[in-house]
């Protein structure tokens, strides 16, 4: 028996009116407008000054360094974190112990303090030697201040700290992949290393990417802490600037504008990254499947599918 041939008339009920919502929205918009209005009209904000400094040399150079620090630290953090996570999950007690200790130590101190420690590294070890211990044989040595420059200290502090947090994220991602995947890969004769690389980690990415995106966005702002060792990023330069011209508020707003701008860009980027790793799990797949079939046929017939 199929459905009946004539549908009854569609329901045309009068919807519930949510008056409370409309009133609340109205009040909030009004208050927001008042706030914005007072802010814009405030003489201490000095919109002209903000505009002047927004694209100034000092600020732009600071932004560039901030971005460099963010990228390099996140790379160190992500790679280090993955290594640490795999170590932590290993059956080898040495590896898993070392990893545990590292994570415990680097999560146990504030990143602010770690930055100060790396920045003052030369006090602890004035010279770095490459040689054999206890027998006074030295192949090469270097002045710590030169080897661990402010920039190197910054990326070490930020990167190594991030690796400890990233390790827990990656570990959570790896654990989230069901055991059956491991069994299937192993039953096909794939080695544990191959299984991790080709099967487990790609699937773990789905769980790892959103919090990692968060970490990156957070790192963008955490770089501001290296101002304490005069790293030459945005906040360092802004601080130097307003300690000379006393235009504290406008310059802080300049910093805010830049941080918010890049955070927005990163958020959009994360959205696309999640889409890529969510491949195979969502809708719109039929069309994509056809595209892939086309590409394969072309490859088979010796035509280079190229980019479409």
């Amino acid at each position: 028996m199929g459905p009946s041939s004539s549908r009854p008339e569609a329901i045309k009920a009068i919807p519930i009116r949510h008056w409370g919502r409309w009133i609340a929205a109205g009040v909030i918009i009004f208050l927001a407008f008042l706030l914005a209005f007072s802010f814009v009209r405030n003489p201490h904000v000095e919109w002209q000054t903000i505009w002047h400094y927004l694209f100034s040399d000092l600020v732009l150079r600071g932004v560039a360094v901030t971005l460099e620090l963010t990228v390099i630290s996140m790379v160190i953090g992500a790679v280090g974190g993955t290594v640490l996570a795999v170590m932590r999950l290993s059956k080898n007690y040495v590896l898993s112990g070392v990893s545990w200790f590292y994570i415990w130590f680097f999560r146990g101190t504030p990143v602010y303090v770690q930055i100060l420690l790396w920045g003052n590294f030369a006090i602890l070890y004035p010279r770095l030697f490459l040689g054999l211990p206890f027998v006074n044989v030295v192949f090469a040595s270097v002045d710590s201040n030169k080897a661990i420059s402010i920039f190197v200290a910054s990326i070490l502090a930020l990167g190594l700290n991030e690796a400890a947090y990233a390790a827990e994220l990656v570990r959570a991602g790896i654990i989230s992949v069901e055991k059956g995947q491991n069994e299937a890969a192993e039953s096909l004769g794939m080695s544990p290393g191959l299984t991790m690389r080709r099967i487990i980690l790609p699937q773990a990415m789905r769980v790892i990417i959103p919090p990692m995106g968060n970490e990156t966005i957070s790192m963008l702002k955490t770089t501001s802490l290296v101002a304490v060792i005069s790293g030459h990023e945005l906040m360092s330069n802004i601080t130097i600037s307003y300690s000379q011209n006393f235009k504290i508020f406008p310059l802080l707003l300049v910093a805010c504008i830049w941080y918010i701008f890049f955070t927005t860009l990163l958020t959009i980027g994360q959205h696309y990254l999640e889409a890529y790793f969510g491949k195979g799990f969502g809708d719109k797949e039929a069309a994509a499947a056809e595209k892939r079939a086309m590409k394969r046929l072309q490859r088979k017939n010796g035509v280079d599918p190229g980019v479409f």
């Binding site: 794939m190 080695s191 797949e285 499947a289 892939r292 079939a293």
Partner: protein, 251 residues
């Protein structure tokens, strides 16, 4: 092809296998039946060393699985050698365990390319052929999430076959499927048996056992209660437990 001798296996304090003996000859289809918890799946997973046995010996294709024997001493096998042994055995799981981030054809190609070092084009061609053989020639570039259970299981079978195994293990391959989809998977398995593949199948499908099996065994409580050819074991069972099990299943 498979020789199991006095195999014992425990998980903690629980003894799951308590001295199992049987032999599967090449090209035979051997079916393991029995109530849940009887140890059938565990036994299957011991055959390809996904679980290590605690006592006894297990040989596949003349090779001791998972251990190397030097004189009278047993050495644990290195992971690399275990992987090599497993590559000769194909396994199909109850929950399919397809790789969800790869298309059907990529699932089938992956192991030959990475483990057997087959060239990509050749692996792709062979994968296409295998998938067509199991009736999924139109679904090569589809992700597992878009396939029905029966289709997924058939991809899983193709994936196991891509490694050109000498032995195929099936762990309740149709238990997670809707009744309408069971038939298509059983058909593929029957075809495999006809072509002479050595198979050990754990299943509840008595009909399949009657039609295709060369040997049948009933497992309960970690031991084989009764074994023999299907027309003897299933039609005229000798043991009480076998009769009890069959009457429940065939009711």
């Amino acid at each position: 092809m498979v020789k199991v001798e006095q195999v014992w296996k425990s998980f903690g304090k629980l003894d799951v296998l308590k001295g199992v003996d049987f032999v599967v000859y090449p090209k035979q289809t051997f079916v393991l039946l029995g109530p849940s918890g009887g140890g059938k799946s565990t036994l299957l997973r011991c055959i390809n060393h996904l679980e290590a046995i605690d006592a006894g010996r297990l040989w596949v294709d003349g090779e001791l699985m998972g251990y190397r024997q030097k004189g009278t001493v047993l050495h644990e096998m290195k992971a690399r050698d275990v992987s090599r042994q497993r590559a000769k055995i194909g396994m199909v799981f109850q929950r399919f365990n397809l790789f969800p981030h790869m298309t059907a054809i990529e699932n089938v190609m992956e192991a030959p390319i990475r483990v057997l070092r087959v060239k990509r084009q050749q692996a792709e061609a062979e994968a296409e052929q295998l998938l067509t053989q199991v009736g999924l020639g139109e679904k090569l570039d589809v992700y597992p999430a878009q396939l029905s259970g029966g289709q997924q299981q058939r991809v899983a079978i193709a994936r196991a076959l891509a490694m050109k195994p000498k032995l195929m293990l099936f762990d309740e391959p149709t238990s997670a499927l809707d009744p309408e989809l069971v038939g298509e998977v059983l058909d593929v398995m029957k075809e495999l048996a006809r072509e002479g593949m050595t198979m050990v199948v754990v299943t509840h499908e008595i009909g399949f056992a009657k039609e295709v099996a060369d040997g049948v065994a009933l497992m309960d409580g970690g031991v084989i209660v009764e074994q023999g050819p299907p027309n003897q074991c299933l039609m005229n069972p000798k043991e009480e437990r076998t009769k009890a099990f069959l009457s429940k299943v065939l009711a």
